[in-house]
Subunit: 405 residues, 2 copies
């Protein structure tokens, strides 16, 4: 008999708790697994021996259903970067101590590419000390920028939110008789996947978003203004989707850098709003979709949530088959009917790399998404959950604040 | 036989098209009503004789259902302020010309208190020239600041969005181990109804929002910082809801004024974020719910949408009974079971007045909403529509851009 531990890391998504459910449910089925520990605040919980017993917290099928519908990370998160063990072994020793003390035979880390770096380092380190703890990565990120996997859990729900909200903003923006420009800022530091997903409106016959700017395409203010002017000659209300991470000349990035060397970006929408006001002089506004694009589980994609659970469960089977240092990944067999299989990839292939929007998805002017690319996005946003309501709003599963302290 | 006209005005909501459906459906039933005209861009369409034949555009029950679920104003909107006819009769003559030419016997204006000013002026003017065109106001505004009526169509859906999103933001904000403050800016120039609606989370057992600031309560930066510090001693992640219209000392209002003398406000959330960063120095962010709070029809309150249709229909019956210069209003009979009746009020009672959040709804510290007040808000956010989906996102009803030009 062994115990297992699971942790969640990085930025919240709508699907990360569904992957936890996948790990939990699959482990329940397995006679060789005894306790299922949740590590509080990602790897920090393992380092600090702050684990909770999930079997005593997730008690019923209703709890499971509610947890699948709850956004963000029920076990908390972290942005902790493990040092190279060859330079600093201290924290690794703490991790090993917890794993041994708790008789943990497998550790599942649900996270983005920074978490996959942790999976890679831990599995390498464990092999050097002959510790037979399996380490498996379960991908998640709304940014969809993980290599190898066709897409990441969390992306489909975020894409559905972005597309649906862009649709509603389009209705909101077209009411007055005067010409106007609306700039919608979408998350995405270096990859334009989420911004590009707003183009699925074209599959519904909408002309909006009329312009789509992603980091994969070089951005020029001159071209932007000429693009906007051209669209204004065709449409009363011009809708622009822009990734937070496009490079603008004057550098609106705040310059604050996190532990992984990421810059915190903000304000590109506002910046472009100001440029349009100054140079074109029409009615203009900017809208930041902010954290709503990653936590609006009331509008989650059923495809995404179901897949997130499946890939969590597949992680458990992978560990039980004896593998370690692996990350679970989707391979798409076909767009229509939409078919994916779950495979494994080596964590080092995924860690610290970014998958960009393919150049061929972007039109030649670099200001919109080609129609053929929509078949990539559309299957990922299909289906809805039936949110469990209380007092008129969706209920959430929560572990009490005091337990997580 | 007579024709009727209907127009939509002011800021978009999720319920304004449902009121249009109410007027449309009720008029269809009435043998004395022939054409049902939609006036494009509010009263501007009557002034400019820009009307569309709604019977040729809303053809099926599916169209009607879709229109009810479509946010914003399908006929466009305006922010046009009628002059006093004693000073400037020109535009009134244009209006009369259109009404006579199109044989319009009743005009229904769906809008906020500025639109009720138009209803009042038109009905007064028509009586001075013995023109027997009935003018009826159908209330709408997410701000819920109309006098006389218990609440306004559009408010319930916006309140549901605000509460649901505040709930999801709460999950998103509590993931990291470090203390943090999240400031959520909610619409409301002078009235705190929508911001206060976020407190319905307390009825679900949530401690968030921990602080709620509305324009009806005097705001002091000193008290704000001390409130935040106190909540930080109790909660890792402090959630603050703030109305865009609270008065802050340095005046973050841009100072731009619209035709009705309203100042465009923005940036209070960002402003408080900066203050917290500077004075407390913790992790802090601000989130503006922006236009999403008024156009997220995918999360509309069924109670709100159904009531919006009913009050539109009641407007038609009111005109047919011979009344004019009236605004339809809700009177609440009881909170539980929730019961309202539709009555009429004089437009001059409603025009140019604002209904504020009752002082007794606000706690003595002026930084949250009292529990007893939640029974006002809760019935208004109950129930969901079943959105008609296409390509994974809710479909909308749209009249082609070229028709509305």
């Amino acid at each position: 008999m062994m115990n297992i531990a699971v942790a969640q890391s990085g930025g919240p998504t709508c699907a990360i708790n569904a992957s936890l459910v996948g790990v939990f449910r699959e482990s329940l089925k397995e006679p060789s697994i005894d306790a299922i520990f949740g590590s509080v605040n990602g790897i920090e919980g393992i380092i600090g021996n702050h684990l909770v017993d999930l079997k005593s917290m997730i008690l019923t099928n209703d709890d499971i259903e509610l947890l699948k519908q709850t956004p963000s990370t029920v076990l908390g998160s972290c942005r902790y970067k493990l040092p190279d063990w060859r330079e600093d072994e201290e924290v690794y020793k703490k991790i090993v101590k917890t794993l041994k003390q708790r008789n943990i035979g497998a550790f599942f880390y649900i996270g983005g590419n920074d978490s996959m770096d942790t999976v890679n380092k831990l599995s390498e380190y464990f092999s050097t000390i002959d510790l037979y703890v399996k380490v498996i990565g379960i991908p998640k990120t709304i940014d969809n920028d993980l290599c190898v996997t066709d897409h990441t859990p969390g992306f489909g729900s975020a894409a559905k939110y972005v597309a649906c909200t862009m649709h509603e903003i389009t209705r909101d923006s077209t009411v007055y008789s005067m010409p106007s420009v609306t700039v919608v800022e979408v998350m995405g530091r270096h990859a334009g996947w989420l911004t590009a997903s707003s183009a699925v409106l074209h599959a519904m016959g909408e002309t909006a978003p009329h312009l789509v700017y992603v980091p994969e395409s070089e951005f020029s203010l001159e071209n932007f203004l000429s693009d906007v002017r051209q669209e204004m000659s065709k449409h009363k209300a011009v809708i622009v989707a822009v990734s937070e991470g496009i490079e603008v000349p004057e550098g609106v990035q705040s310059g604050v850098v996190d532990n992984f060397g990421h810059k915190y970006l903000s304000g590109i929408g506002k910046y472009l709003e100001d440029i349009v006001r100054k140079e074109i002089g029409c009615k203009v506004r900017s809208i930041e979709l902010n954290v709503m694009q990653r936590c609006s589980s009331h509008l989650a994609s059923k495809t995404d949530i179901d897949e997130a659970e499946s890939i969590g469960a597949a992680g458990v089977r992978c560990a039980l088959s004896g593998e370690t240092g692996k990350v679970m990944a989707f391979r798409r067999i076909s767009d229509m009917p939409y078919t994916v299989v779950i495979e494994t990839a080596d964590a080092y292939e995924i860690a610290n790399n970014e998958k960009h929007l393919p150049k061929e998805y972007i039109n030649s002017a670099g200001n919109n998404i080609r129609d053929f690319a929509l078949s990539y996005f559309l299957p990922l946003i299909q289906g809805e959950l039936n949110p469990i309501m209380s007092q008129g709003i969706p209920k959430h599963f929560a572990i009490h604040e005091s337990v997580l302290k």
